[in-house]
Amino acid sequence: MELPPHVVNYLQNEFLSRTRPFCFLIDENFRLIDSWGDSDWCGLGRLEPAADMREKVPFLVGIPVVEAQTFEFLEMPARVVVNVHMVPEDGQCYVVLLDAKQDHAATQSRQQSVNELRLLHASQRKLIGRQRELISELVETRSELDHHRREAERISENKSRFIAMMSHEFRTPLASIINYADFAAEAETSSNDVQKSIETISRSARHLTSLVEAVLDDASLEAGQLKLLEKDFDFVSLLNDMAAMMAPLAAEKGLSFATYVDPDVPRVIHADEVRLRQILINLLGNAVKFTLDGGVELLATYNDGRLVVTVTDTGPGISADDQEKVFQAFERGSGEGATGAGLGLTITLRLVELMHGEVSLDSTPGEGCTVSVHVPVMASTDPATSGAQILPTPSDDTIASKALSVLVCDDDEDMIALIEHYLHRSGYGLITSSSSSEAIDKTLKYDPDLVLMDCNIPGVGGVAAAKVLREHGYTNPIVALTASKLNDEQKLAFTRFFRKPAQMQELLTEIRRLTH
């Protein structure tokens, strides 16, 4: 079909009005030969004949004029967008500029959306990549933490084994030294020099024992092994014990010693008596040790379920720098009289924290020191449940029924000899054994009135032996005397539990009580 002339005419007019063609003819040196159309819309203005058109339309620079070429969407310096058609003929070239503003704007809008979307995707990919890196780092960090945790657990287990082993290895020889020193001190034939030497040995051994206790306590606390054993006990009685213990020491140094108990303080409280006693001994012991003039006071108050014990002294005080250090292990401050392992306050702090309490320290150098312990404790309304044990004072430790017998089981010959001495002197008949199997056999055979059992002995061990005896119907008391640390379940196998080095007098008193 051939388009009717008026349609062709219409299309031509439409094209011309939309593209506003401007055409110029140049020679091979880009000189203007002639031009057609309106040049104003494309910013070229008036064109001089023979002008170098590369000056007017710089896109011609570098373009060969002998080939037909098309450039789409070419934005000229005048910010006019044109489509360029170059049509060569006989060494000359027609250059046609068509207005492309409308098409360019539409295309630019589409391209803008596409590019922004691509940028968004690129940004998302980058974020996803970073997220993967972070996840990878997290996994790696978690793996490292697991490794460190396992390593810490392994070290903790080793430490626990070390504590248990050292506890036994230290206590056994120390028990022998202390008890034999006490034994030797009782001998009437010793000269004064020998007596003094024995006293020195005994004092040194007890000091060494206290240091070992402190180190092992600290290690147990740090390893999280120490558990509180809470029960009802007479707190006022504990304070009286403290006063009875510390007042003579203070008096020896010419210091006053006073204890004040607020009326609100309950007589019977529910707490770990042994550890609370340890805390008070540490605080009062330090106060007495470091104070040279004046005195030491203890004040106990109770409010809203919190027991506050404050120890105040008139000693040299603690400098601000040292106040930060004194609670750190093996830090003894820089003051005079700083002896010991430097663990007292460390253990105190850890014990109080174990009780969910706090310790505060207030001191000005030269003006004394005040240490307060705040611990949450429950008051018991039933004094009958008090765990405070008031042991009868032995009036005559030689009085005992000669008909009574004790079986002693210990693989340490020195310890057996020592116990034998004390029990014989108290009138007990003695049956000895050095292994658990021997102890079981002899107990079942002779039915002693009491069994005194070491735990770390050859055979099945003291705990298992005690259980066997119970299973075979042995009902008399079985007392543990051991350097090993027993857990609560193991302690149930025994009537009583004594830790080496034990005070022989206390042990004898308990044996007498249990056998009468």
């Binding site: 710089p58 896109f59 620079v61 570098g62 098309t70 450039f71 934005e75 967008v81 590019n115």
Partner: protein, 174 residues
């Protein structure tokens, strides 16, 4: 005084800052708004080299961004005396695109002087080109610049260097 006029094409992936470095070089202006280029933008600027007694007019073709050239783009590049490759330092993929474009252009039109701008150095927090990679491309290409169209850092230096290389090549046959 010798007058030289050269055609220089600015090429690279989309949104790497080709129009911005051109605008900074020609008009010493920067707009933070991203406006994608369609087709090609023509601009000019003269640089004087008093020591050489040369005035060099650069006709700059700012070509629409692409990581792959076709017939339309190659038509724009025809007769170019030198190239400005532009990559985005926060998008390492745009440097890989330059390697490909350089290979395409060299294959189509043969070797020509060029400089490489690793642009957007002002975005230091998002910078993703390692020093090792930068050293490697510098060793491979030479005349690599860390530029910022925003601050103008090294934009003029890179284009002046390109203009020098073109003079060396066109006038001295170096």
């Amino acid at each position: 005084m010798t007058h030289v006029t050269s055609k220089v094409c600015v090429v690279g992936d989309f949104a790497v800052g080709k129009t911005s470095v051109t605008e900074r070089f020609v008009n010493n202006h920067f707009s933070g708004k991203y406006l994608s280029t369609v087709g090609v933008k023509i601009d000019t600027r003269e640089i004087e080299f008093p020591a050489l007694d040369v005035t060099h007019k650069l006709v700059i073709w700012d070509v629409a961004g692409s990581d792959e050239f076709g017939p339309t783009e190659f038509a724009y590049l025809r007769g170019a005396n030198g190239y400005v490759y532009v990559a985005d330092g926060t998008r390492p993929a745009t440097l890989a695109a330059i390697e490909h474009l350089h290979s395409q252009i060299t294959g189509q039109y043969g070797p020509a002087p060029f400089v490489l701008m690793v642009n957007k150095r002002d975005l230091s927090d998002e910078w993703s080109v390692s020093d090792e990679y930068y050293d490697a491309i510098t060793k491979a290409y030479g005349n690599v610049y860390k530029t910022s169209a925003k601050t103008g850092d090294d934009v003029g230096e890179a284009l002046t260097r390109l203009a020098e290389m073109i003079i060396d090549r066109e006038l001295r046959g170096a």
